[in-house]
Symmetry: C2
Subunit: 494 residues, 2 copies
């Protein structure tokens, strides 16, 4: 009879495998599945997720954890086993408090809301989406009531699902520190007359595809363990560290996919450098959405918008699109990819204005959850904030409050991780630069191995053993901080 | 509290979903997965299959079945519910008799044997594969001992895994009836001087790809619910009736993929026309490997080698490959695709000699299982039979006893279903012709809907409710019979 720790590991390996299988199904759905397969896929994913939940919340898991209490105390807190017991205990206690019926209702509400949102967005008709959103928020509040133990405010519970062990107040403090300087910087930069027109035009997708492969190979896409496939909304996924699936969308009229591929490369590299000895345990997974995003933003922005990188790669890009870029020199190109233009849509926002889109959502979500706003007033509040933060007038709800898929899928508490990760990416880059003093020169020579290895050692290898803030502290010497990010933006843009 | 029947259905839906997910993983592995993903995939598939087995053999399922005994007797035997209880009871009783440890050992032995076989085949070194094969046969015999209840001979148990409720003696009788006329026909036809040289040459794969899509669309590939992807060893699979995945291998020097695509189309159509109301129950699945093969062979041979089909499609093929086929008229082409040439490799065999390859394996497998042959003597016995049945001299074991993957994967009892299905395909075609008297004219006009509908109504819609022989009897009025097949071969070839 294996001991409780072995049994716990065995059960977690099973649950981890099922989670990876679910990821593959989801990837397949978004890249390969014939459209008519949707109905089967919903059943299959529901079955997988239900089994995962049942196996994880099985009373046997509770017994293993009870039995392990004395042992846990004798383990070195940083050890793999202590981290595993700690993590599983935390997740288990959260999971067993949610009745299966509520979980099922939340899943059903999200499944039903999705097509309603698609139609409402297309028709800019918020009123038709409102009942779905009300139902989703109502269920989310029931969910909060189940697991609110230890939370300072309701939103803490929701944030914790995406950024574990992170308090709303911490994020609020960070964002409050970012907001005034960002608003000021945007006001200053929007007046500049930057020509970015050459980033729009005729960019044949087959050549974009070649570029996507070329840039990920240059970064260090290991042959035989990655794929890149086209999809509608780009993401990185994959069922294992040696089976990474990047996706992108080759818009024929822009270079967006090149930057989006660098972004997804960062996510993919994080998966690829997961600690191998923990790969079938939850401690081997990614730390949080924020830390995940720090990896993608680092490759997209700190590497992918940097002068050294483009000194190396711009000739290649020009050679790929001579008609479009032959006459545009490196300086004009660099200025173009640093243009700041407040705009309506978050996912198309530039590096500087992006944060304001996130803050707006973070604030509105808290208001929704704490009951400080009627949901029917959301469009008006959205539009007011867009004007206050970005000076942008929202023409209709399709380009405003209805633009993101998240709420329709029941994801409330997610958005802030985008900005938290972006801010962290600068701290991580600076720490890497301290340890690798000639990092910029290396980037300019296309030598990415030292950076990959540094990220592997200081971030990726920690898996999910520690909280996001502890992970960041171990990697950089500091928890999340606004100043490096603000300094970086000012240095890059002003 | 749902009643036992509802609970049984719910559990079977779960098990069926997991099976479909496993199929998707396997498809992905053979078409999309980066090579380095193998190790993860093995873990994930093992976890899925173990869970499937655990959920299916759960004592709760036994209780549902016990509780349903009285109800079962009151149900109309042809009803969906009666068929479900019957099928699950049969499979359950078989499954619970096999200890988990034996299942695990069988899976491990197969996993370990696979790479040994790959190397042995490449090096034509049977001796190096012999210990693996001995282990696999030893475990298969233990498996037989667990579930032999009701079997007339050991091989019955193994055959039953692929062709349920079919006795070895029935297949033996069929094959004994086929063998002398086939051997005679082959001897007669091999002397003919048929020019098939134009079927080899330069056939650019991109145009083969277009042809594969064209022919399956012509047959009735419904847009939005199928895919065709390249792979090493073609197969049809997919996780649902509206999510069918055909695969093929575009060899640049032959037209093999065109016929193989028609073959896989037949398998795919069977899945696609599964009874919708049973799609998450085992009764909705395919009846047996033999019935599955009857569907693929029907489209590949009865349609795909027929004069009416090529009268329609040959101009299209010629236009695709004018350099290769421009000078070859329809008569020469039809003669070429009906050339009979005894050869070494089963999967490349023509329609007439194919059966002898199957019989040889069926006979050797029975000898192995009944202990009538020492495994080390297999190569010699193989080579003798190849000479007796086909007049072919085997140069080495890579082209002989080591050619097929099946034994290395633990599949013993599988081969005969290829020929059983081929024989059944002719009976099914004749039955369809009786009901649709102008079927050949319709084929010549590219009207396949009546045939698809006929197959749907008479075969596909029965799912797995009845035994293969009962399914065939309901569709054609007769159980399996040698004569129609022999008549067909004689008419098409002699």
């Amino acid at each position: 009879m294996a001991d409780a720790l072995e049994q716990l590991k065995e059960r977690m390996a099973e649950v981890t495998d099922l989670g990876k299988v679910a990821r593959l199904l989801s990837w397949d759905q978004q890249t390969m599945m014939p459209p008519a397969g949707t109905a089967h896929r919903a059943d299959q994913l529901a079955t997988l997720l239900r089994l995962m939940h049942e196996r994880f919340t099985d009373p046997a898991v509770g017994s293993f954890l009870e039995e392990l209490r004395p042992r846990e105390e004798s383990l070195e807190p940083d050890s793999d086993d202590a981290a595993l017991i700690r993590l599983v205990r935390r997740e288990y206690e959260k999971a067993v408090n949610v009745p299966a019926s509520l979980r099922a209702e939340m899943a059903r509400a999200a499944a039903e809301a999705r097509p309603v949102w698609v139609k409402a967005k297309a028709e800019s008709d918020f009123a038709s989406f409102l009942p779905s959103l009300e139902r989703i928020v109502e269920l989310k509040l029931q969910y909060v009531d189940c697991v609110a133990d230890g939370a300072d405010e309701r939103y803490d519970v929701l944030l914790d699902d995406y950024e574990p062990q992170t308090k709303t107040a911490e994020v609020r403090t960070l964002f409050e520190e970012l907001k005034p300087p960002l608003v000021a910087l945007i006001a200053e930069l929007r007046e500049r007359d930057v020509d970015a027109s050459f980033l729009r035009g005729d960019f044949p997708p087959d050549r974009q595809r070649d570029l996507a492969h070329e840039v990920t190979e240059l970064f260090g896409h290991r042959p035989g363990s990655w794929r890149i496939d086209p999809t509608e909304h780009p993401f990185a996924s994959g069922p294992g560290r040696d089976d990474v699936r990047i996706t992108t969308n080759y818009h024929p009229d822009s270079l967006e996919s090149l930057f989006s591929t660098m972004h997804e490369y960062g996510h993919g590299l994080y998966s690829h450098q997961q600690p191998k000895h923990l790969e079938r345990l939850p401690t081997g997974g990614p730390c949080s959405l924020g830390i995940h995003e720090s990896q993608s933003r680092l490759w997209e922005n700190l590497v992918g918008r940097s002068r050294p990188f483009w000194q190396l790669f711009y000739p290649r890009l020009q050679a790929t699109y001579p008609e479009q870029l032959g006459e545009v020199d490196l300086e004009r190109f660099l200025a173009g990819i640093h243009a700041v233009t407040p705009s309506l849509i978050r996912i198309q926002a530039d590096e500087v204005t992006y944060g304001m889109h996130v803050m707006l959502r973070f604030e509105l979500e808290q208001d929704m959850v704490e009951g400080r706003i009627e949901l029917r007033d959301l469009p008006q509040r959205w539009n007011e904030k867009m004007w206050d933060y970005l000076g942008v007038e929202v023409p209709d709800d399709g380009h405003g409050v209805l633009q993101d898929v998240h709420w329709s899928g029941g994801s409330i508490g997610y958005f802030s991780t985008y900005l938290v990760g972006t801010v962290a990416s600068v701290q991580i880059w600076q720490a890497a630069t301290r340890d690798l003093p000639d990092l910029e020169e290396k980037v300019g020579r296309g030598e990415f191995e030292p950076l990959r290895d540094w990220l592997g050692e200081h971030i990726h290898s920690l898996g999910r053993k520690f909280s996001p803030q502890e992970t960041l502290r171990r990697a950089t010497g500091s928890t999340i901080a606004a100043q490096p990010y603000l300094d970086y933006l000012r240095a890059s843009y002003a």
